[in-house]
Symmetry: none
Subunit: 131 residues, 4 copies
Amino acid sequence: MDLKLNPSSSVPIYAQVVSQVRALVASRALRAGDQLPSIRDLAASLRINRNTAAKAYEALESDGVIEMRQGHGCYVTGRGVTPWSKEERLRRLERAIDQALVEAYHLGVPFEEIPGLVRRRLERFKKEESA
Amino acid sequence: MDLKLNPSSSVPIYAQVVSQVRALVASRALRAGDQLPSIRDLAASLRINRNTAAKAYEALESDGVIEMRQGHGCYVTGRGVTPWSKEERLRRLERAIDQALVEAYHLGVPFEEIPGLVRRRLERFKKEESA
Amino acid sequence: MDLKLNPSSSVPIYAQVVSQVRALVASRALRAGDQLPSIRDLAASLRINRNTAAKAYEALESDGVIEMRQGHGCYVTGRGVTPWSKEERLRRLERAIDQALVEAYHLGVPFEEIPGLVRRRLERFKKEESA
Amino acid sequence: MDLKLNPSSSVPIYAQVVSQVRALVASRALRAGDQLPSIRDLAASLRINRNTAAKAYEALESDGVIEMRQGHGCYVTGRGVTPWSKEERLRRLERAIDQALVEAYHLGVPFEEIPGLVRRRLERFKKEESA
DNA sequence: GTGGTCTAGACCACG
DNA sequence: GTGGTCTAGACCACG
């Protein structure tokens, strides 16, 4: 699991780990049941403190992305036992989409180009998935 | 300018102001040349610290979203003053789109539904724009 | 003896075994003199580590819930072998009751509903007992 | 806010803080909007590490019992925006009640005494509430 | 070996 | 002043 950390980013290190693991799971590079490196190993390979690695894993666990088992290790959870209602889930997704649209506006990317771009990124995700 | 701030969110208040002003501009509720309230007035109306309001405006200015003219006030700038190259801008947008896709995966929303959703949000943006 | 263990719970497995055996005894599904599976058998049937099973039995024994007779096996003891004084016992029970009341408050269950609920659970216990 | 910690208990210090604050809120010794001591002050008064105090407050926040505000402090939340369904809430409460009943059995307290005891503890809660 | 807790202490971000 | 992050390092509980 090779994550790329930016220690000078304003995004905390543990949050960078969280979002990259979430992305790996979403792109199916990590799948349900897969074992993650232990907290110790992760900390060593990223050269961060054990507590920082533990904080990232804790956040991922309370997110429902991974499970940590006593004395065993950390495993990717099965997908989607999210405790949220259908409406709440839609609301959250719309918020993420709107953020991308706002970003597009301010970057000067015409709205007409968005659907094509989204389709391209989706294809890339699916390709990784079937790989 | 009525922004909805959540003081108990983990997102800093100044960042909430920034992202909501950016959204207002993107949805054309605020347009190039429009005047924003002064730092002092914004702080008063939102009942936030003046330093917080100032910090938000600074961030918006260095983002190229607003301009502060000494003794005149704050104005929404024209679009496309972003300091980034075409490639950098595409990279940033793809990152925002990917974040929405990762969110969709973890929320259990099937990828097939994404393009439709994006189109719907785009329509809403355009409607607000023409209003 | 079919116990339902949750390996991803934050409650240690041995403690899950202990509390479920205590519940079985309290509901009279297990009665004084009944023989429990050996440590080896329990570990095999629950597919847990033998040390874990042994630790659970040790805790149950020092609690006075079971007795382990060298070379004979494990047996449920008679009731009321608790080593505590009348006052201490009352204090412990009140603590358990208070915990339920605190839980009720935070779950938003009105206090008026508590006595009815307690009565219902008591009936269920007695029914299992007479079964 | 005087909490009594037992450093030699097997219950982690932060968890002791959590459960005692929950009890204070449930007994209305702390009410919605009340400010809690800052992490620094709590740590100093309990003579524990700031990180340990912070961990307790974080847990209380993710439980919905308190809110922490940037640069302001910690406040008791309004009651009961628990994200759980009515059924889940009942299930959790029943579990807590059952634990008290199991405890009663093993302590040799006759089931007949339970309803009276529960009523007494409820009265004590309500008295504190109106005080 | 694995995760969990705790401390001491530094530095930063926020308002 | 308040909370948030991070490190180094110790010791413990679990399986």
